[in-house]
């Protein structure tokens, strides 16, 4: 939007496209990250115990995993291409540094993930059991590794390290690759993101199992679903604890390297020591005046600095400091967006953990949950961490604004100069439409297959290469 009012330019649309495609992509990624490991654990349990219950759950959640996996893969290609298409000046500026983790991610992680997923899907009767089990683990490791490289790339945008700007070319150049990979922002963002992913995956296990427990209290599969509900709840709780701990460390690092983002998370205009955390604030429309607030004293100081009396810098002070450092301009993000996305992230994540706790409590010592409300709460559970993840990304990316690379490049200077408004509008519209359509299709398929319940498992035929099994149907086929 420019100074004349509601006029849209290519920069705005490119930003909206990045936001929409990234949040959309990240609806599928957490489930791929978390569920790949959980399915691998279930299959390992089957391998170790021979108990068919685990095989049923492996196949059942494996199907849901694959429905979701396909979406993560195809929306991921857009992410890589988008930097060059819409953000070519950004790509020129950081390519020397930013391209490397992307290329390594593809070579080291995506090949592993995609090749072994293929082996796992089609290999039930083609591979010895141990190799087949190893395939799902290889895919899970590939998926989790990929997260590290892409988060290292993103962390460079939040806290650029290991580089210098070449005065002749005006480009950022890599000077220390190890520093880029061990960026302290990356080291803490990785566990936070992975834990957030397991929050989603654990919740999905609970939701699907609870649905079957509501529908049929005494079926032959009730113990199977009870196991899944409890296993999923434990995963959710452990993940929630990991999210809180890593998030706490992240907050302190953020206060050091991106103090403006911390101030914007709180809507803290003036420097305070000690600073209180507002649970909820109703402000005036322009966000500069407070009308009503619930505050927890000392908490913001603790979150930001680890000391209840620590100083947290306010937006106004930081704005003045940046203006003298980088020249005139507005260096604050859109405060209502950062303020609320930060709170929604925390609230939705904690809500999922609370439900997991209730599910476990009602299952204690072999009891069965009776409350319809609890069962219903279990059903909405996976949506809560999904929303929390989305708000987390919205917060961290919007909180970095107006920078695309903090302190080095403004977002508005990173956009492609040769791409017209018409082109980027076409692209934004096309992606939004195809993504919306696929979201509906994917959601319906997930529901359909979740409702179908655990499959019957018949004994796997042993692999026999000695004679030609020309007429035997494949164990799995598209």
């Amino acid at each position: 939007m420019n100074s004349w009012g509601l006029q849209v330019d290519a920069l705005d649309v490119a930003r909206w496209q990045f936001g929409v495609t990234t949040v959309y992509h990240f609806l599928f990624v957490p489930l791929t990250i978390g569920l790949s490991v959980l399915v691998a654990i279930l299959q390992t349990l089957w391998h170790r115990t021979g108990n068919e219950r685990y095989l049923k759950l492996t196949k059942f959640y494996g199907k849901l995993f694959l429905i979701n996996f396909a979406m993560g893969v195809v929306t991921g290609i857009v992410q890589e291409f988008q930097f060059g298409m819409n953000w070519s000046d950004y790509s020129r500026f950081v390519g020397d540094i930013f391209g490397a983790p992307l290329a390594i991610e593809a070579l080291v992680a995506f090949f592993l993930e995609s090749t072994f997923i293929g082996l796992w899907i089609f290999g039930w009767d083609r591979l010895p059991k141990r190799l087949h089990l190893a395939s799902i683990w290889a895919a899970a490791i590939g998926t989790n590794l990929s997260a590290y490289f892409i988060l290292a790339a993103n962390s460079f945008m939040q806290n650029p390290v290991g580089y210098r700007v070449n005065p002749d070319t005006g480009r950022a150049e890599l000077t220390d690759f190890v520093a880029v990979l061990t960026n302290k922002v990356a080291l803490v963002t990785f566990p936070h993101t992975i834990a957030g992913a397991f929050l989603v995956a654990g919740s999905l296990l609970v939701a699907v199992a609870m649905w079957h427990l509501i529908r049929n209290r005494d079926s032959a599969e009730t113990p199977t679903y009870r196991f899944a509900a409890k296993f999923g709840s434990w995963v959710t709780l452990v993940a929630a604890a990991a999210v809180v701990i890593s998030g706490d460390i992240q907050g302190k690092i953020m206060t050091q390297v991106q103090p403006m983002k911390m101030a914007a998370a709180e809507g803290l205009y003036n420097t305070e020591s000690p600073a209180s955390f507002s649970v909820l604030t109703v402000g005036s429309l322009d966000g500069t005046r407070e009308l009503f607030a619930i505050k927890i004293p000392y908490l913001l100081s603790y979150l930001g600095t680890g000391d209840p009396n620590g100083t947290v810098h306010g937006i106004n002070d930081l704005q003045a400091q940046y203006a003298s450092q980088y020249g005139p301009g507005n260096y604050a993000p859109i405060i209502p967006v950062t303020y609320w996305s930060f709170r929604f992230m925390i609230a939705f994540g904690l809500a999922a953990a609370a439900i997991a706790l209730l599910v476990l409590w009602t299952h204690r010592k072999g009891r069965a949950p009776r409350s319809k409300w609890l069962l219903r709460a279990g059903l909405v559970m996976p949506l809560l961490p999904l929303v929390a993840n989305s708000f987390g990304w919205i917060f961290t990316e919007m909180g970095r604004q107006p920078w695309i690379v903090f302190g080095e490049m403004l977002t508005r200077n990173g956009v492609s100069r040769s791409v017209s408004l018409t082109e980027v509008l076409t692209s934004f519209t096309a992606f939004t439409l195809i993504y919306a359509t696929l979201a509906v299709i994917e959601f319906r398929l997930l529901i359909r297959y979740a409702k179908a319940g655990v499959p019957d498992v018949t004994e796997q035929p042993e692999i026999d290469d000695s004679h030609d099994d020309a007429e035997r149907p494949l164990a799995f086929a598209y």
Binding site: F81, R448, L474
Partner: protein, 332 residues
Amino acid sequence: MELTTIWFLLVAVLFTGYFILEGFDFGVGMLLPVLGRDDRERRVLINTIGPVWDGNEVWLITAGGAMFAAFPEWYATLFSGFYLPLLLILLALIARGVAFEYRHKRPEPSWKRRWDAAIFFGSLVPAVLWGVAFANILRGVPLTGDHEYAGGLLDLLNPYALLGGVTTAALFLTHGAVFIALKTVGEIRERAGALAVRVGAVAAVLAVVFLAWTLGIRSSTAAVALAAGAAVALLAGLAAARVRREGWAFTGTAVAIGLAVATLFAALFPAVLPSTLDPAGTLTATNAASTPYTLKIMSWVAVVFTPIVLAYQGWTYWVFRKRIGVAHIPQH
């Protein structure tokens, strides 16, 4: 050898690998309505590439990533300049990838018909547009002195580039038909083998004209040798397809596609994106490259991991080496 030359070669190898591998995937997708007469036959076709198409597509993601890391200027100018063709390729790849996974998830014929259409168009569109894109890279595009694309969509739709698009589509069709003949049994195998010879003849004519035109635009000794090799490999592949030596036929089309892509890169070098407007705008392997430090790190990563990737991906093809036919398709 200069690091920038090594990375030019590596990017060339990655795209060559991508077109050889996803080339037959695209061919199978385009042949779905032609060779698959009912649902079971179409499932046979899809399952010939079922376990491998995703791994094949990662070659593109790696090629894109390598281009970004090693030649940021090339990546930035190319991707922002070829905006609408790349958008169409992305949309096609999205629809196609989801289609493979979702097609068999519901029994209704209308559901399957829609995903069949997604697979067909999702394969046809990139098969044509990659040819258009690479022909334009070779031919050169209008670039300003600071390497910004100064043309429009119509500049990309010139006769040479359109011939390039038709040629890649015909080559991938042939490659796909040969692959199907190699991987199936029964009637489909026979039909695919016969079709490969007929489509292959058209592809051979197109490829020879296109490569000759290419060498007319820009050339080098290596490019001429590679183009000649591509023509010989294609003819040998087709001769093998005629006598139903399917393994040799597939080797022939694979080598032909590989050498044809290599011809383009050899003719292009040392430029990576020539400018038809301001000669100063031409991007080369030198002026588009990252720093030696970045290239060195990337080289080590490539040296260590590329053989590992090739080993396990090759092993996948070995695991799924058996031919399939309608009898192998389960009821659901």
